[in-house]
């Protein structure tokens, strides 16, 4: 029986964790299987939860977020017969670990292009969650995409906080959005988990466009969300559950070519995205896959050519 450990923010954050939840539910529906799950309430519980599930014989144990890296490093070796899966971690060294990363910068590049094309003011915003390299990685791809469309575009970027609480702070998301609007932004991209709910809400209230993240968030405010940067966490979880105990270990990075990231189109945002926009973005996607365009990764550079944090 597999187990799934959500990160702080909870499985209904409409974003990262909810994607995992969706993947797991899909697996359960398709196979009729059951799985155990738990939402973290605080940092201190991570290790306990891992051990509890391992003791109870769950396999594989799928965990969400980079916060699990350190606990996994401590726990995995104690349970060599259990396979652990971790999303958003790619740097650990353990034989019974499947590490899944995503090329978020590539997906963010595409939605950055769309933001620039939809913007009338020449200013677009980025609101990150917790200020960590991962989120800068998102922002950096986004800024590059926007600048590719309009080299003069102004990208305003803010982070919500420095701790995991930043994943779940809609009030602050809302205030930051208002601040960015006053600086002229008319499209904002929220890469902030549950905080994004506040960003999208305020953008809709104030009549500007927003861009969701991780899950498809277009439906939250139909006609007000330009698109969502999809990060197929659901696929990663689904596949890990499907493979079961024999899930392959190692490091896996999913980019545009693997359909690990992308942008969301559905009836909710169809009126917002013109055929021209779509054509331009699809072309860029193909160029990236073909290697004609390269998006700089913040991870590899530790700095961003298009955006100052």
């Amino acid at each position: 029986e597999p187990a799934l450990i959500f990160d702080l923010g909870g499985k209904f954050d409409k974003s990262f964790n909810e994607a995992a939840h969706n993947g797991a539910s899909r697996w359960a529906e398709e196979t009729g299987g059951t799985y155990r799950e738990i939402e973290m309430q605080s940092e201190a519980q991570r290790e306990q939860a891992l051990r509890r599930f391992a003791e109870a014989g769950s396999n594989p144990i799928i965990t969400m977020g980079f916060g699990m890296a350190d606990p996994l490093a401590a726990v995995a070796a104690d349970y060599p017969d259990t396979t652990f899966v971790v999303v958003d971690v790619t740097w650990l060294d353990a034989p019974n670990l499947r590490q899944v990363g995503f090329a978020e910068h590539e997906g963010s590049y595409l939605v950055g292009m769309m933001a620039a094309m939809a913007s009338k003011t020449g200013t677009v915003g980025f609101i990150g969650g917790m200020d960590v390299p991962l989120i800068r990685h998102f922002g950096c791809g986004y800024a590059q995409g926007a600048k590719a469309v309009n080299p003069d575009i102004n990208v305003v970027a803010n982070m919500t906080g420095t701790t995991p609480a930043a994943w779940n702070d809609p009030v602050k998301g809302s205030e930051l959005t208002k601040a960015q609007i006053s600086q002229g932004a008319d499209v904002v991209y929220a890469a902030a988990g549950g905080t994004g709910v506040g960003v999208l809400q305020t953008a809709a209230d104030e009549g500007i466009l927003s861009i969701g993240v991780d899950s498809n968030q277009n439906h939250l405010h139909p006609g007000k969300v330009l698109t969502s940067m999809l990060k197929r966490v659901d696929v990663a979880v689904y596949e890990a559950m499907k493979a079961g105990e024999d899930v392959e270990t190692g490091v896996f990075v999913m980019g545009l070519s693997e359909d690990g990231v992308g942008y969301a189109m559905d009836e909710n945002n169809a009126p917002l995205v013109s055929d021209d926009m779509k054509a331009a973005v699809d072309k860029a996607r193909q160029d990236i896959i073909d290697g004609n365009v390269s998006v700089v990764s913040y991870y590899e550079n530790d700095s961003c050519p298009a955006l100052q944090f």
């Binding site: 909870g10 954050d13 779940n168 208002k178």
Partner: protein, 322 residues
């Protein structure tokens, strides 16, 4: 000019953030003026936030939500009254219990009701308080200075913001110009005097605690249905305690309470809007800004702004027979 725009934005946000503080602070004012200390403001607000959002989500009517929030807060008020007035228990301990009760119950009920990890569904349309735009707000927007002040800062808030600020003069009037106010103040100073004057101490105190509940209810509803669009767990985030500090800062006076809450609102607005603040080379880390309202509270309590003397009978149950 850009500074002016930012200023208006920050002040606008100050008004929004000060509103729940002000409502809670006035709530505490009624209760403490009647001699019942209430550190359960936080819990009452939280409970109200949840029930207002839940009912608004289910019925689609924010007004029903508001009523539900007030009702939920009143239930906790009644509990506090029962413990501290009827059974003459320790008011601080009762407040602590109420805070825990709210913090646990909201998540528990939310989870069993909506299965969304302790939140309510997002509110939209009639489920939320919409901003009220003053007449000519749009037309005046372009006018320098006056325009932004009128149409950004004063206009465009939810009705509860205006209600909260109207409660300031109203509270002053009730307290100092009516019979009820005279008795309320007296019962917080010397309940035996009220009792021997032929007025029910228990009745007055329950009335004060009930008003406190109503105002906390509005504060909670404001958080969940006006400031935000739905309930998330622990969404009051210590506002009840800051309201108490504001109350002490204000020395239990309505107008001063308003200024104190605006000050705390301003601090929160600044902390929300700016990250690390660079003051000519010295960078103030964001954590300092986050902690500033709390630090300021301690400074105020330390009496650096003059000694605050609470209502004399505050915190003590009225005991006739030992």
């Amino acid at each position: 000019m850009e500074f002016f725009v930012t200023l208006i934005q920050v002040l606008d946000s100050t008004v929004r953030l000060a509103t729940p503080l002000l409502l809670a602070c006035l709530a505490g004012l009624y209760s403490e003026r009647a001699g019942i200390f209430d550190i359960g403001l936080e819990g009452k607000m939280l409970m109200a936030a949840f029930f207002s959002a839940a009912i608004a989500a289910v019925t689609g009517s924010v007004w029903l939500g508001l009523l539900a929030g007030i009702g939920a807060s009143l239930v906790l008020s009644a509990l506090h009254g029962l413990a501290s007035i009827t059974f003459r228990g320790n008011q601080l301990i009762s407040g602590v219990a109420i805070n825990f009760l709210a913090s646990g119950m909201t998540v528990l009920i939310a989870q069993s009701w909506f299965q969304q990890g302790g939140r309510t569904p997002s509110l939209f349309g009639g489920g939320r308080f919409e901003p009220i735009n003053f007449p000519f707000a749009e037309a005046l927007e372009g006018v320098p200075f006056i325009g932004p002040i009128y149409s950004e800062l004063l206009s465009g808030h939810s009705i509860l913001v205006y209600v909260a600020f109207l409660f300031v003069p109203l509270t002053w009037w009730i307290l100092f110009r009516t019979r009820f106010g005279l008795r309320l103040r007296a019962v917080g100073e010397n309940p035996a005097a009220v009792d021997t004057a032929g007025v029910s101490v228990v009745g007055l105190r329950f009335a004060a605690v009930a008003i406190c509940g109503i105002l906390c209810g509005i504060a909670g509803a404001y958080l969940a249905t006006a400031l935000q669009a739905g309930f998330v767990k622990e969404m009051t985030a210590g506002r009840g305690f800051i309201a108490l500090a504001a109350l002490i800062f204000a020395k239990w006076r309505p107008w001063h309470a308003m200024w104190a809450c605006l000050l705390f609102g301003l601090l929160q607005a600044i902390a929300l809007r700016f990250q690390n603040i660079d003051l000519g080379g010295v960078v103030i880390p964001v954590q300092v800004m986050d902690a500033l309202p709390y630090i300021l509270t301690v400074v105020i309590l330390a009496g650096f702004v003059g000694k605050a003397i609470p209502p004399r009978a505050g915190g003590e149950p009225y005991v006739k027979e030992r």
